[in-house]
């Protein structure tokens, strides 16, 4: 036996059990994550069911050309990016504001109650959220049409048939759904601030407002920047449940509710249009990957500890 082979045999003998332990996980990630990565080639092929993925003819960038000629491509790209951008701004502002207030609540039980309640919407599935929104917006029996609009002297609105209202509805629902989880993160960052800063500031006669603007906010700014950059890295990925369940999968609402993820789903499952759906999906994967790399690079420049890699 050569020295090299001997060494390999020794390693295998010592670490064989550990190697075996990793097999299920490695295999799972290979099937669930790596094989689909190679499946990206579908987007560059003229997919034919009879010939299969590998046997289908190459079509170059044809699928992408077709996709970007459609009006859909513009709509879904615009919707995905704009919604996510608005979500980032509103959710961050609300979460930081809420965290600032929760930080000041000294009564433990009260603080915990507030926190539990704002986190509650984050815990339930988007299907349930669909029901909750329906209870408010149902045309015939919804709370808004039956109780609020009459109070204001307004006519009932057919919410599920009017695309123009949905940017507002979706922003509110998203805020409702995710402000709690973001708030918990910012609150944790605030609780990590050394109390001595505040004690010193109080001795110097700084009031609460000054403490917030000169101590708390500056010290959690890195966390805000990092969370925002990470969110920007995912700006091409929409919350599928939000855009699919909450508008009840309505076709009429698509001008303001269709995003990349819902488009890919409908093109694939409803229409069986492999070309268009894979082109949109691959666009999302590749540009999304570039965005993650860039945003992580910036995060690393700010705070190496917070970077993903």
């Amino acid at each position: 036996m050569t020295v090299r082979a001997e060494r390999t045999a020794r390693i295998l003998k010592k670490y064989g059990a550990l190697f075996i332990m990793t097999i299920p996980g490695v295999l799972y990630l290979f099937i669930n994550n790596y094989l689909p990565m190679f499946g990206i080639v579908i987007a560059f092929k003229d997919y034919n069911f009879a010939k299969g993925i590998l046997g289908s003819d190459w079509s170059g960038l044809k699928n992408f050309e077709y996709l970007f000629k459609t009006n859909d491509a513009y709509v879904i790209l615009r919707n995905t990016i704009l919604y996510n951008a608005v979500f980032i701004v509103f959710n961050t502002a609300a979460a930081v504001g809420l965290a600032l207030m929760l930080y000041e609540v000294k009564n433990k039980i009260l603080a915990r109650t507030y926190q539990s309640l704002v986190l509650l919407p984050y815990l339930i599935s988007m299907v349930i959220v669909g029901y909750l929104v329906l209870a408010f917006l149902n045309v015939e029996n919804g709370f808004v049409n039956k109780s609020i609009l009459p109070l204001l002297g307004m006519e009932p609105i057919s919410w599920y048939n009017e695309p123009k209202y949905w940017p507002f509805i979706l922003v509110i629902v998203k805020l409702w759904n995710s402000v709690g989880s973001l708030c918990v993160i910012y609150l944790a960052a605030m609780l990590g601030i050394d109390r001595e800063y505040y004690e010193a500031a109080t001795l110097d006669g700084a009031n609460k407002g000054q403490q917030i603007f000169h101590i708390t906010l500056p010290l959690i700014t890195p966390v805000i920047i990092i969370m925002t950059l990470l969110a920007i890295g995912k700006i091409l990925y929409a919350d599928f449940g939000l855009f699919y369940q909450v508008p009840l999968d309505s076709g009429i609402l698509q001008p303001t509710t269709n995003v990349i993820d819902t488009y890919v789903y409908r093109a694939l499952i409803r229409l069986g249009d492999i070309g268009m759906s894979s082109a949109a999906g691959v666009f999302q994967s590749i540009v999304g990957f570039a965005l993650v790399i860039v945003s992580n690079y910036i995060v690393r420049r700010i705070d190496p500890d917070k970077a993903l890699f």
């Binding site: 550990l18 799972y28 994550n33 579908i42 987007a43 029996n141 709370f143 993903l308």
Partner: protein, 293 residues
């Protein structure tokens, strides 16, 4: 001082309003499910129905076969998926955490890369349906997407590295214990905190999942509770059929407006009832996850 009290009250009012904003939709849902069909038709879903009415629940109770079946599937999928997922995740994370393991860096990268890049829905769907023929099987609700998440592998790796003393493993090894025995009898018991946190998030993921059912399941016998609710939400005819097991009842009597809310209450109740018990771990998990993988 007076100014201070003024601001504090203002703050508590703002916090109370925020909490109400988060809570009110649930109250409307419950109130709606307890309102009589006639009252809903007349004045819509309200927070304060004139009288409490249990017709929708009685109806669901009498026709509960489908719902119970869907619950059974959800419980099965959650238990099996969480147990298998935790075990596979820990078995992958532990060798990566061992400083002497030869390919730990390569494996860590192999896990990590799955968080950065993915092939998207189309290749995943085609792989699972054509190669593995997973459509309309229970495996479709357990395996795709949810079983092992690279993020949790890294989380556990970090815990193992920082919280399990190398000497403990070393001395067990000297005593002649095999790697599997060390993993099972020493590493796992010492890792209850991280197993609980990851297990909580994995099980909530399974309990709330409707996406796998949406794309892989067409046979309503295999619907999880979320898929059943999903179908009922988008398709009111389906709800009527699904809750119409005894043919003697007349479809016109169906309290469909109240029932729509009642099924959602039945669907969301378990997780809300369990919430106070796992709230602490949930909050901890959220912050751990945000800080560093």
């Amino acid at each position: 001082m007076a100014k201070n009290i003024f601001y504090r009250s203002l703050m508590h009012i703002a916090l109370t309003l925020s909490a109400l904003f988060c809570l009110l939709p649930f109250l409307l849902l419950v109130a709606g499910s307890l309102t009589s069909e006639r009252e809903i038709a007349l004045s819509g879903y309200t927070f304060f129905p004139k009288e409490l009415n249990l017709t929708a629940y009685e109806y669901l109770w009498r026709n509960s076969d489908q719902i119970l079946r869907a619950y059974g599937i959800t419980v099965f999928v959650t238990v099996v998926g969480t147990a298998a997922g935790l075990l596979i995740t820990a078995m992958l994370a532990y060798p990566i955490s061992r400083r002497d393991f030869p390919i730990r860096r390569q494996l860590a990268f192999y896990v990590f890369f799955t968080l950065l890049f993915n092939g998207g829905l189309v290749p995943t769907y085609m792989l699972y349906t054509t190669v593995f023929d997973i459509k309309n099987t229970l495996a479709a609700l357990i395996v795709p997407y949810l079983l092992v998440n690279g993020f949790f592998v890294i989380l556990m790796r970090t815990f193992f590295t920082s919280s399990i003393p190398g000497e403990v493993i070393e001395s067990a090894y000297m005593d002649g214990a095999g790697e599997f025995l060390i993993f099972w009898r020493i590493v796992m018991p010492l890792s209850v905190p991280v197993l609980a946190t990851v297990g909580l998030f994995v099980s909530i993921g399974y309990w709330n999942d409707w996406f796998n059912g949406l794309i892989f399941i067409t046979d309503s016998k295999l619907y999880s509770i979320q898929n059943m609710l999903n179908r009922m939400l988008l398709d009111i005819e389906f709800m009527k059929r699904a809750t119409q097991t005894n043919l003697t009842s007349v479809i016109a009597d169906l309290p469909s407006r109240g029932m729509r809310m009642a099924v959602a209450v039945v669907g969301v109740l378990p997780i809300i009832a369990a919430y106070p018990f796992f709230q602490k771990y949930f909050v901890k998990g959220l912050t751990v996850g945000a800080v560093k993988g």
